[in-house]
Symmetry: D2
Subunit: 340 residues, 4 copies
């Protein structure tokens, strides 16, 4: 059996990354791809790196047609627009992996306040599994709709959640300082992400106001059973891909050097049988995980804090790689199929 | 009058930057440049960007000769080697601006512990002015020896010191997360700073162990009169130049939004007549100050913290530009001469 | 006396570069700046790197007002729109330096064919000095309108013209393979110049169809008195600034190694008293001239060809630096004033 | 059956790339890896990106041990040293894929003149298959020793050889202007490939003197049966990976536009059943083939020339990907196994 995949919203970087991963996937293949403005073009015209590898004509979105031809839809649309489409797809009987933030949060008011929209399918908010198989594999396996995680949240939840659950660190004194490659800003034409605006420069943005902050808090809370508060600062870094999160926490009780081995042990217990999360001794660089679905994390003592460092590829484990991993779980495949 | 400058240790990036700045300086000129391994070569052979602009044969270091021909020496040597040379130059009667860390700290034991060497000229430790004219212009004006500031410390001391002095923020809950361009790592051949090791990747290094941490603590303490403790994490960022420091502090008493305008006002009072420090409303990017001696800083509220953001060019205000500024002060020139 | 400058079309990269250069210019200053969409904003809002250095409110274009307040206008508008504005400015009595291609070519039909527009001020085509003071300083000195050279043409004309004039190389066997930084593509929002589209990638564009080809042919012909034909291929290179032109020519008669010293001698004779053109022995890199108005060129023998290599900064000598140089000539200042 | 691979000289970029490709290869696996200075370390210490994916202790080179444990050795050593090791490995009975230039050329004197060494195993020069399965698959299938192609030559031979063979273009008027990412310069510590020396700069090097020039001439000659002469200029480009070759040729007889479709047709006939060579209509960028074993090529008319443009990834099809492809052919696997 080969899983038949529809790629909904194929023209951005996450769409390209899904298509590339499916080229090499032994048990899944791309059956159709949709686009709004570029419908009618070949996908290789929009993404010249696909030339010779894979091709198909971009179609207008038609949920019934997708339902007939595909097992699963990867939905790479902007928030709100995505929820609307997910509802149509689910109702037509397609299983859906949604890349947007629409079904990630537990709380409708929190969503509507941070995203400044009325949610098109409010009934599913709080009732959709978060697509992080390291914690929710069983629910993902049977889900009709999976909320694929945000990129920054992935780099923060994976190191934080086990430590909060284990009671090793304080819940209200957490600073997440994240550095992302520019692909995280998407592929639409904006002055702010022109080459010359971002190259040879690093800057913080959305300080104290980024929508991934409530996602980190919500998910760490859900996984650990404990409420947390986070100060979150994202930075635009002159590189295509990658997120490095430098996370400052305070130990509960046993601070200092003694806590570091306890943290590594806690992580190792949780992640030892997870194929993509690696607790390492070296200081992870985003280059170490670039183009892979892997996560590297480590901890260090520094003064009165512990510094957790986590590196991912924002387009792989931070988006399209995670989606493939979720698809693998949904269809009973090896979690790492197509991701090695 | 034109100040006659000796450049001691001309082959690195700070040496090149000094030479370039002197090309356009109306009141100073490069009279001689020294190098160890490259003595005998033209400086334009070592730095092809100087071809056609300025040239001279690199000489072996000879303090007596420098004393005869120059008013001031810019000493760009590694720590310990630098102190030894500074002593010879001072004794020969040359005024010296030292780029190394040898005379920056107040305490000899702190220096010897962090730098793991015996200090060659211990008598001057704690008795040398720190070359930050924003705070120490009067002492610099008459100094025979000036300790040019470290790059990271410049980006942390300028925002922090006034706030600590004004009692606006807590002294023991300060996190400095800094991102530096690769030129900060120098021009010697090392695998770690090869293009392919650092491009398309960001990583933390020396977590909790970087030598600029005690320098930040020492200087903020000296300027504000209050002891502070800092958690400091530097990151190697894929760009040639620039440092962005994202600094997490906690307000004393009045936390939150109300503190931000107080911080901006505090900075504006201190820096209003300083030509290079600019309090801005936008979020500073390192690209905004690249190739200039300028500093941009701002503050934002974020959860239970205030985030201070400061951008400098590590080779300009973080090294060679600061040195030119110090030289201007030492010789009674306009502080900004040659730096516009 | 200080030259009063109007910057017309201030929001792009060439406008920013003019503004920056004027900050440090001892004999000229920015008096007003215009913008269409951004009129009313401060120039430092559009270019945050100007914060603290220079500021003024962007105005709507008003030729009469410019004529009253300014000596010269730097016109950084798109072709055709530029010619129209230049005419209004000239008629109002302002001297104008035009950054567009509108007045560079000798022939109206050639212009209209390559640029696919009707020229708004055809009378001045073929009667406007080309702003390359290395060859046309006397005419520039008295001109009311100067056609500022194109970036690629500057990197090709400077090495080629003297060799054609001296009869050293064949006129119809010239290949110009040029590599440009991304700033050459301007600051408008386009997918093709997004960071992730150009970073970690190099590509040719407009092969055999770039508008700078007739400009190179026209000007080398005008300077040398000989018609030439050029094959020209520009490449988009992952860097902000710089153009490297690798030019393949064939010697006339004396081919091979013996020609290289003759070429260097020919260049040295022409350029020895020109402040910005440097004939060098090393292989020039764009980084060697980055952020400066300088040009480095060299020649090498390779098989049956001579390879000429020329490096400039596309925004400096390739645009705004050349404009400042032209302004200096127009107002009797030192050619290098504000450009060191 | 799974092919057992020895990686000889594992610490460079080609070694890393081989190791990564073997992680995902369904029919081959890394059995041992050697290193000189780093023997005893884990391979993941030398290449932190392998952490969690693959690991083994680096060994000293022992041909007998390799022969016992492995089917094939990938030899990533410097020239001359490589030939010596290849001889030992072949004599011990291991099949070898040699990444060096030692067995690529037909002529011993040409090799010894361009590489300035005495060849350690001269008997095999001119008697070793060139590892380009697009032309030599049958010989590769049975070879004991395969000379893996050079990176630049791959990008020039693939477009040129069929056109020379078909008599479409002149043999002595070929200019190859190539732009390579910095990984081509290797992973040893040199000032010239430090981040700050190569970032934001492009430069030609080894003009008329690069060792890949005779390799291009030799192989195009061997494949087409016609002698050719090439002018070759490589450029160091600020990116990790990729080679773009812009090749200027002159049509034989039918010049101009009519030749372009004939060239595309000629290529399509040769490459239609080759899995990695793609004739495209768009202008190829190196980013389009980055991290893949694919080749994109196109042709354009420009004045009196045809411009051929070819993009590869220098570490994939230009080195380690080609080696995997060769291994697949040697062991009867699908040519594209592990390379999708």
């Amino acid at each position: 059996m080969s899983v038949k995949v529809a790629l909904v919203g194929a023209t951005g970087y996450t769409g390209l990354e899904v298509a590339r991963r499916l080229v090499g996937h032994p048990d899944a293949n791309l059956v159709l791809a949709t686009a709004r403005a570029d419908a009618g073009k070949q996908i290789s015209q929009v993404h010249p790196s696909l030339a010779g590898l894979i091709d198909c004509q971009l179609e207008k979105l038609d949920p019934e047609s997708i339902a007939k031809r595909c097992d699963v839809a990867m939905c790479c649309l902007p928030h709100a627009a995505s929820a609307e489409t997910c509802q149509l797809l689910c109702q037509a009987g397609v299983r859906v992996i949604d890349f947007s933030a629409d079904f990630r949060l537990s709380s409708l008011p929190v969503y509507e306040s941070w995203y400044s929209v009325t949610h098109p399918w409010p009934q599913r908010v709080g009732r959709t599994v978060y697509g992080m198989p390291e914690f929710f594999a069983d629910e993902i396996a049977t889900a009709d709709l999976v909320a694929n995680p945000g990129c920054y949240p992935t780099s923060a939840i994976l190191p934080l959640a086990p430590l909060i659950k284990a009671g090793l660190i304080e819940q209200n004194d957490i600073i997440v300082d994240s550095k992302s490659g520019v692909s995280g800003a998407g592929r639409s034409a904006k002055v702010g992400t022109l080459y010359c605006e971002t190259n040879e420069s690093i800057a913080a943005y959305a300080v104290g106001q980024h929508r991934h902050q409530p996602e980190i808090e919500d998910l760490v809370g859900r996984i650990s059973g404990e409420p947390i508060e986070v100060v979150f600062t994202p930075h635009l870094t002159p590189m295509n891909r990658g997120i490095l999160s430098t996370i400052y926490v305070r130990g509960k009780g046993d601070a200092g050097e003694t806590l570091v081995p306890m943290i590594h042990q806690c992580w190792n217990e949780i992640y030892q049988d997870k194929p993509f999360v690696h607790v390492v001794d070296h200081l992870p660089a985003t280059g170490h995980v670039s183009m892979t679905n892997h996560v590297q994390m480590t901890a260090r003592a520094a003064g009165n804090r512990i510094v957790l460092i986590c590196a991912i590829d924002n387009l792989a484990k931070g988006a399209s790689g995670a989606a493939i991993q979720n698809m693998n779980v949904m269809f009973g495949l090896d979690q790492a199929s197509g991701l090695r």
